[in-house]
């Protein structure tokens, strides 16, 4: 047995001992088993320690790994738990007895169907079903609105934000601290204040209850992210490249397009992604500023929690979670593939 396996075996024995103590004091086997299962998992995530590690080092390492494991479980559990909940046959947000007993009749896909049927004039009809769904189904319309608004806000925020970041990152920029503070203030000011102020102001200039109003509000909220990521990227940018490009005869716009932009692209994309997600998930400003026509997915969900308790939001959320998982997995696989292609050993 290698050194490390011996330490693991000792760990298991210690845990069994503690579990036995729990069994004898509480009198029932289930808490003991539960305790054992819960605390043996971190043991398997531990990595071998150097030869000179002492017993204390092993203990503190185990503790550290255990804490991290529980934090990760804390983070991921609520997201995963909505998936089984979305198959609840009853319109409530709990696990019914039937579900806990794995009774098949307690599960149903009615909420997934509701995503498409809700709001349709004739959900079970055949004629014009696609038209009906595309135009009337509330969730489909919310999804369209969400993606439209998020895309527009991300694009506008990225464009204006990048231009501003280019100015900010120059060393000769006057009033740098003041302007930077102003530009990231939408992130600093509590959202309820921003949303309230926008509500009054946009109402008075007839921008409330329009797509333009909501998009402007989301651009305002997404700008700080773009500014911060692009300035961070620009801080590592070599100014000599600009001078080199200009010395070769390129004018300002060409320098930007051919030299600067490709190099700051990661920062721009990252900022655009943040702005996109902020807009997609933004609820407070939408509550104040949007009409039923501009309803977005979060607004529809809020309605499903307050005004009509509807687990359809769990179904929608499960779909979104699935999409996110697929996206993240694909990104990771692409990254590994590019590593392989470049001949770098996987990190």
């Amino acid at each position: 047995m290698t050194l490390f396996n011996r330490e693991k075996a000792i760990g298991i024995v210690i845990l069994l001992a503690i579990a036995a103590i729990i069994f004898f004091t509480l009198g029932s086997i289930t808490p003991a088993i539960g305790f054992f299962v819960m605390f043996v998992i971190p043991l398997y995530f531990m990595k071998p320690l150097p030869v000179f590690a002492s017993k204390i080092d092993y203990c503190s390492n185990y503790l550290f790994v255990a804490i991290c494991t529980f934090i990760f479980i804390f983070l991921i559990t609520p997201v995963l738990i909505i998936i089984p909940l979305s198959f609840n046959a009853e319109p409530y947000f709990t696990f019914t007895q039937g579900m806990l007993n794995f009774d098949p009749s307690a599960f149903s896909t009615r909420w997934y169907e509701d995503i498409v049927y809700n709001g349709m004039v004739d959900p079970h009809g055949v004629k014009n079903w696609w038209d009906d769904m595309w135009n009337n189904a509330q969730w489909i319309r919310s999804a369209r609105n969400s993606f439209f608004i998020a895309t527009m806000s991300a694009i506008i925020a990225t464009i204006i934000g990048t231009i501003a970041a280019l100015g900010l990152s120059r060393s000769e920029m006057p009033y740098k601290a003041l302007i930077t503070s102003l530009l990231i203030s939408p992130m600093i000011v509590p959202l309820v204040i921003t949303a309230t102020g926008m509500f009054f102001f946009y109402s008075s200039i007839n921008l409330a209850k329009t797509f333009t109003g909501v998009i402007l509000a989301h651009v305002t909220l997404g700008i700080p992210f773009v500014i911060i990521t692009v300035t961070a990227t620009l801080s590592g940018f070599d100014r000599n490249l600009i001078k080199a490009s200009q010395s070769l005869g390129a004018h300002g716009w060409m320098t930007f397009r051919r030299v600067i932009m490709p190099l700051i692209m990661p920062g721009m994309i990252s900022g655009a992604l943040f702005a996109f997600i902020t807009s997609l998930d933004e609820i407070v400003a939408v509550i104040f500023l949007a009409d039923v026509e501009q309803r977005t997915i979060p607004r529809q969900m809020f309605s499903g929690i307050r005004e009509q308790i509807s687990p359809t939001i769990l179904a929608v959320a499960s779909v979104l979670v699935l999409i996110s998982i697929i996206l993240l997995t694909v990104m990771e696989l692409l990254r590994r593939r590019s590593e392989r292609l470049r001949g770098i050993t996987p990190g």
């Binding site: 808490p31 990760f72 231009i163 900010l168 959202l191 990190g347």
Partner: protein
């Protein structure tokens, strides 16, 4: 160096001036690049907030609804009751106002406004306005005969005070102060003191949430930054997935988990740690708010920390250990100071988000998880006392700006790194 002469160029202008002139063009260009965004923010962000702040002091109701009276009452010295001529102007104005159905100029608006100062006066105004046409001179006598409540000098003092267009009354209310019968500023009744205590509770709760986030984020950010990319990206999914999942969905999930008949309680009962009757109330109270908000804000703390930790070379710690430092000492003196930028960014972000949060406390906070932003939203959406909501919002804004300025002094805004 103060004894050397200024450097002068051949054409007689000092080098310093020439440099300034040369960089002027570049400065202007840099400013020009940021101008579109600055103007955009000024219009779409600063102006709305400015307008909201204006609402918190602008008080034109009385002078809009009964303008002549607003001028006439200024002559009154505040003792006993106003003179007969003032009463006459009041009744005549009321008659005119009763016919007006334009928003902002109706008797109803006046009634609501005075009702903030003196509860119960709303129906007094509306019922009097309905009968005002029939009142005849001497107006003071007939008004008092119509309803004895008009003999209350506090009512007339309130009317006089509110005849001015600017008022600190809403800020007073936001700070749990009020005007007494003589018009002096005093503390509001104990029964009505909510705002300041709620404010302090919000700040306390946000601080607790931020502290818990720091404690939880540090280990996992460290783990994510030292693990090889292959594994850390997989674990990163655990952080990014909650981050990308809608806030409402996460909150609902927590409701399902923390309910008395929810997952956690069920497991604890199943495992035997709790009896079926002794289930713990973990939702619709402060505990639920803290747990849900920590879960929602944790990624905001992890990501900046991670991005900073990733840039720290592992050789620093190894060097410290090789020179004889114990691990804890090396952590404290070498590693921690290097993570300050990320820590600062994360703390600032989490704290400010926590103070302004309104959705999660609204859904899971129950009675004692209510934060100041919920009260602001309440005034905007339910009680329609927009001026009070604006005043509370202004105080919140000032607090946040002060904290931000403090943060700037201590850590510096250029040190912000969000990953």
């Amino acid at each position: 160096m103060s004894t050397t002469k200024e450097l002068i160029e051949q054409d007689g202008i000092s080098l310093k001036d020439k440099l300034a002139k040369a960089t002027k063009v570049q400065k202007r260009r840099a400013l020009l690049l940021t101008m579109p965004l600055v103007i955009f923010l000024l219009v779409s962000f600063v102006m709305p907030i400015g307008q909201m702040l204006w609402r918190s002091v602008h008080n034109p109701t009385v002078s809009n609804v009964i303008p002549n009276f607003a001028i006439a009452i200024q002559q009154w010295d505040g003792n006993a009751l106003p003179s007969e001529s003032v009463f006459e102007v009041f009744v005549k104005d009321l008659v005119t106002a009763k016919k007006n159905r334009e928003i902002g100029k109706t008797v109803g608006n006046l009634a609501t406004r005075i009702n903030y100062d003196i509860p119960g006066s709303r129906s007094l105004f509306t019922s009097t306005a309905r009968k005002a046409k029939k009142l005849k001179a001497p107006f003071k006598e007939s008004l008092l005969k119509l309803n004895k409540k008009w003999a209350n000098p506090t009512l007339w003092l309130s009317l006089k005070r509110n005849s001015k267009d600017l008022t600190p009354a809403f800020y007073l209310a936001a700070m749990d102060l009020k005007y007494d019968e003589r018009g002096n500023i005093v503390k509001a009744d104990d029964l009505y003191q909510i705002y300041m205590s709620n404010f302090i509770k919000t700040i306390k709760l946000s601080a607790i949430i931020t502290a818990i986030c720091i404690l939880l984020a540090y280990p996992i950010a460290y783990v994510l930054s030292v693990l090889p990319l292959r594994q850390s990206n997989l674990l990163m999914i655990c952080v990014l997935l909650p981050f990308w999942t809608s806030l409402l969905v996460r909150t609902t999930a927590w409701i399902a988990i923390l309910q008395t008949q929810g997952v956690v309680n069920d497991i604890l009962v199943f495992l035997g740690f709790l009896s079926d009757d002794g289930r713990v109330q973990m939702i619709y109270n402060q505990t639920g708010t803290i747990i849900a908000m920590v879960h929602i804000l944790l990624p905001f703390m992890v990501l900046p920390l991670y991005s900073v930790m990733k840039t720290i070379s592992p050789t620093y710690m190894k060097a410290a250990l090789s020179m004889g430092a114990r691990k804890s000492y090396a952590l404290r003196k070498i590693y921690l100071p290097l993570t300050i930028p990320g820590l600062g960014a994360g703390t600032l972000l989490v704290f400010i988000l926590a103070i302004g949060y309104y959705i999660t406390p609204a859904l899971v906070g129950g009675e004692d998880g209510l934060l100041i932003s919920n009260l602001i939203a309440y005034h905007i959406q339910k009680s329609l006392n927009w001026s009070l909501g604006a005043a509370l919002g202004a105080i919140l804004l000032v607090t946040v700006l002060v904290l931000y300025w403090l943060y700037n002094k201590l850590i510096g805004i250029d040190n912000l790194k969000f990953g």
